[in-house]
């Protein structure tokens, strides 16, 4: 994992951290985001590929609801949401 130096841009200071695994970049994280006005914050708001362990493997997390592409009444029966509803939460 390498941390870059802080660079001053027209939007404010920016610093990033790069994770390299097996010779390829697997993740880039902004450590310091700009906040000089709404516009520069928005510039930081891009969707970046997620490293699996970062958000996944959370099957055990206690959720009360599931968001998914609209299911038909029939597909609902196979959904995790249906299981949660039957469990009563």
């Amino acid at each position: 994992m390498w941390t870059g130096s802080t660079v001053h841009t027209q939007f404010g200071p920016v610093q990033v951290q790069v994770t390299i695994s097996g010779g390829t970049i697997t993740d880039v994280t902004a450590l310091q985001l700009t906040n000089a006005g709404g516009r520069s914050v928005q510039i930081s708001n891009y969707a970046a590929p997620v490293v699996q362990s970062e958000v996944l493997a959370s099957q055990s997390t206690h959720v009360q609801n599931v968001s998914g592409a609209t299911y038909t009444t029939q597909a609902y029966l196979q959904s995790v949401q249906s299981a949660l509803d039957q469990a009563g939460f």
Partner: protein, 246 residues
């Protein structure tokens, strides 16, 4: 208490405090009324009459025209990625009607003094303001599994997910028959109409629309690409990481 009922071809899961369970019937009535007016599956619905040309928009109800204007506004805000017409030219407001019904149900609950609720309609969820909810994101490849969990909290009350996993490719790509770059897109926003419309628009418009809307709208997004790659905006990465540690 949780109540479950069917409407608009899908299932609603409504969570209300025990003190407010009587409101479930009023919520159900809201969805029934929206479905009656806007369903293209009902030949006698007002939207069916407009679509067939029997009723002109100037002669339509205020509700119909308000929804139409709102949908047109979203079409311009998404540079055309969100469409109000099917490829065959028929006026189709389904991309916004369900979210509007959820919004109306939420407003009814809030006005009735119910300060803790979640309304989940076919995977699109609105929670009461100030409540913190852990929401699972469905795995598009395995309907019985979750991809991850994210937080919906504070003023970020709404999350909607669009995709091609459950209902086939039901989202129009501006006339194109090319498959979308994304198989699933989840959007967190302050209101459910914004979340739902933008999720639909990103599926239709692909990465260009994703980057554009992340830049101009106050949203967080999690996408699943056709190649299986999952991408997320910083807010989602943060909240998913927090939830993992709990």
């Amino acid at each position: 208490m949780r109540s479950v009922f069917e409407t608009m071809g899908t299932v609603v899961s409504l969570e209300l405090p025990d003190s407010h369970t009587r409101l479930a019937l009023e919520v159900e009535e809201i969805f029934r009324a929206y479905d009656e007016r806007f369903s293209l599956y009902r030949p006698e619905s007002e939207l069916s009459l407009v679509a067939s040309g029997e009723l002109t928009l100037p002669a339509a109800s205020d509700e119909m025209r308000a929804t139409y204007v709102r949908a047109l506004d979203w079409r311009s805000r998404t540079d055309g990625a969100f469409s109000v017409h099917r490829p065959d030219g028929v006026l189709d407001l389904n991309g916004i009607v369900k979210a509007e019904a959820i919004e109306a149900a939420g407003a009814l609950l809030t006005a009735a003094g119910c300060s803790q609720f979640t309304i989940n309609v076919g995977g699109d969820i609105l929670s009461s303001e100030g409540q913190s909810c852990a929401i699972g994101i469905a795995d598009p490849a395995h309907p019985d599994r979750l991809l991850c969990a994210v937080a919906v909290e504070g003023t970020r009350r709404a999350i909607a997910t669009s995709g091609s996993a459950q209902r086939g490719d039901h989202i129009w790509h501006g006339g194109s028959t090319e498959p979308s770059e994304f198989v699933q897109v989840s959007v967190i926003a302050d209101d459910i109409v914004t979340a739902d419309v933008i999720a639909t628009a990103i599926i239709a418009g692909g990465e260009a629309t994703l980057n554009d809307l992340c830049d101009t709208c106050d949203i967080d997004v999690l996408t699943v690409g056709r190649d299986g790659v999952i991408s997320a905006t910083p807010g989602i990465r943060f909240s998913a990481g927090q939830l993992q540690q709990t």
